[in-house]
């Protein structure tokens, strides 16, 4: 079938448009990044969720459990989970940004993007970087509670935390994009929250130490092996440990391992997200 045959000759270059770049178009990346931020700015419920999680986990659970534990590795419980709660906000924001794709591609703006000549790798990169930026901003809400948790932060510590949270955001938005690309329908965030967000959170060393807890008598109560295995498989474990290193100067894993995986995993994940989006754009 042929629609409008007249233009069999190559189209004359149009003066007001330029030929789109084959892969990387920085203006497209920037426009997609900006879209994520504009959406975030107009979504008060997401902002409220970020504050609410900080209060629930850090203040209520932190002080509640802190009353029965004297310390974890020399920190109060509230101090210990501060990096973990920041990570929880990063995980939540990243997954929300990624899973919105299910809706977006069926009945939202993504259909318009798929029929446009914009290069899909740039679209994906813009979305991932935008989602990661939103995630950093959600994580920063928790850092604002640091004085309440009795943690004093220097500017350098905050900068290091931003870098780690951004890497974590890139990793998780990309993983979420791959998951979203395989979801046919979406009828609530509950399944994502209980099936992905919370397991990633609980198995990351965010709420209890990887090596186990030193009991009152000074004995180390080790974690069961199966639990440890799950924690080491969880890609979030390493950035969470690095984040705790940045905020509390305390780590449970070797620095090289943390740094290496925190930097490398997001790159692999972005490549997977680009492939997933390419598959989606032509089915």
């Amino acid at each position: 079938m042929i629609v409008s045959q007249q233009a069999a000759a190559p189209a004359a270059p149009l003066d007001f448009r330029r030929a789109p770049a084959p892969r990387l178009d920085l203006r497209v990346v920037a426009a997609m990044w900006r879209r994520e931020l504009l959406r975030y700015r107009r979504d008060r419920s997401q902002w409220f969720g970020g504050v609410s999680r900080a209060v629930l986990w850090l203040i209520i659970l932190g002080y509640g459990i802190g009353a029965s534990y004297t310390n974890i590795e020399g920190f109060t419980y509230t101090q210990y989970i501060l990096p973990g709660v920041a990570a929880l906000n990063v995980i939540f924001a990243s997954m929300q940004s990624a899973i919105a794709l299910v809706w977006d591609r069926e009945v939202g703006l993504m259909r318009e993007i798929f029929v446009s000549p914009a290069p899909m790798p740039s679209v994906t990169l813009g979305k991932v970087l935008g989602g990661a930026t939103v995630a950093v901003s959600q994580g920063t809400i928790v850092l604002l509670f640091a004085p309440l948790a009795g943690v004093a932060l220097s500017a350098a510590q905050v900068l290091a935390a931003w870098a780690v949270m951004f890497a974590m955001g890139v990793l998780l938005v990309s993983i979420g994009t791959v998951i979203a690309s395989r979801m046919a329908t979406f009828e609530g965030f509950g399944a994502i929250s209980n099936g992905i967000v919370l397991p990633m959170y609980f198995l990351s060393g965010a709420v209890f130490p990887i090596r186990g807890i030193v009991g009152l008598g000074g004995f180390l109560v080790e974690l069961p092996v199966w639990l440890k295995v799950l924690m080491f498989i969880n890609p979030v474990t390493y950035p969470v440990d690095l984040l705790r290193g940045a905020l509390l100067s305390f780590r449970q894993l070797p620095l090289g391992l943390d740094l290496g995986l925190t930097a490398a995993l997001p790159l692999v994940a972005v490549a997977a997200a680009v492939a997933a989006m390419n598959r989606l754009s032509v089915r």
Partner: protein, 249 residues
């Protein structure tokens, strides 16, 4: 889809008609490069929709069945994003977006998030957006669904005006009175092409008389049985959105 073959001439307003489940949206998606045909070839503006998808995307404008706008962005932001996606040179972006807003009659509402717009305003914004990059061929999938008579009239007036300046338009619809104004139509059902021709020609050929309506021709060809379809995952998603589901805005 089987054995569907037709040509659309440059500058023509072509209507693709069919009952629910006939394959209209599937054809629309294949022609706009987001669904690859398993066999056969399709060319749009001289380019193959699979091998030269990027060239095709460059030359077409698309209006979807349900608005493909970002509800949380303003009209201006939606148009701006479109301009970047289609590679408008930076100095043309501002003026073109402004022109499109005026053309759609949405100048006063440019700074409002699209979620506060009525269905008709969204449709006008989408049409203006689809034309912002001066496409050679315009694809519209059920463009008047959900519009009031005023909105429908304005949309067809605008499409009519565009034809006079040489734009080719490909419209899928099951609204027969509207299809009367097409230069030529194709009627499809269950993925097969039944007939093509101008509305007048089809009335003569199928109904045997000129003083009938395209609707009668259509019902003659496709029968009067109701077309019940099962809800697809997409329909369920739409329902979830209508109920105000989370993460859908």
């Amino acid at each position: 889809m089987h054995d569907v073959s037709f040509d659309v001439a440059a500058g023509e307003l072509f209507g693709l008609l069919g009952p629910n489940g006939a394959g209209k949206t599937t054809t629309h998606r294949m022609l706009t490069t987001t669904l690859a045909p398993t066999t056969g070839t399709m060319r749009v503006a001289g380019f193959d929709v699979v091998a030269e998808a990027r060239r095709v995307r460059d030359l077409i404008g698309v209006v979807f069945q349900e608005p493909a706008l970002d509800d949380r962005l303003t009209a201006h932001e939606n148009l701006h994003l479109h301009a970047v996606l289609y590679g408008l040179r930076p100095r043309f972006v501002g003026p073109r977006v402004q022109e499109a807003l005026e053309w759609a009659g949405l100048n006063e509402h440019a700074g409002r998030p699209v979620r506060t717009f009525s269905g008709g305003m969204k449709r006008r914004l989408e049409l203006a957006r689809a034309l912002l990059h001066e496409p050679r061929v315009l694809f519209l999938d059920e463009p008047t669904a959900g519009l009031d008579p005023q909105g429908r009239r304005r949309l067809w007036d605008q499409i009519g005006a565009l034809r006079r300046v040489g734009l080719t338009a490909f419209v899928t619809t099951h609204n027969m009175p509207e299809a009367e104004s097409c230069d030529r139509v194709a009627i499809i059902d269950t993925g097969r092409l039944l007939v093509t021709g101008s509305p007048a020609e089809l009335k003569r050929r199928i109904a045997g008389r000129a003083n009938t309506t395209l609707e009668d021709v259509f019902l003659d060809l496709t029968g009067r049985a109701l077309r019940d379809e099962e809800a697809t995952p997409r329909d369920r998603l739409l329902g979830f959105g209508r109920r105000g589901g989370e993460l859908t805005r």
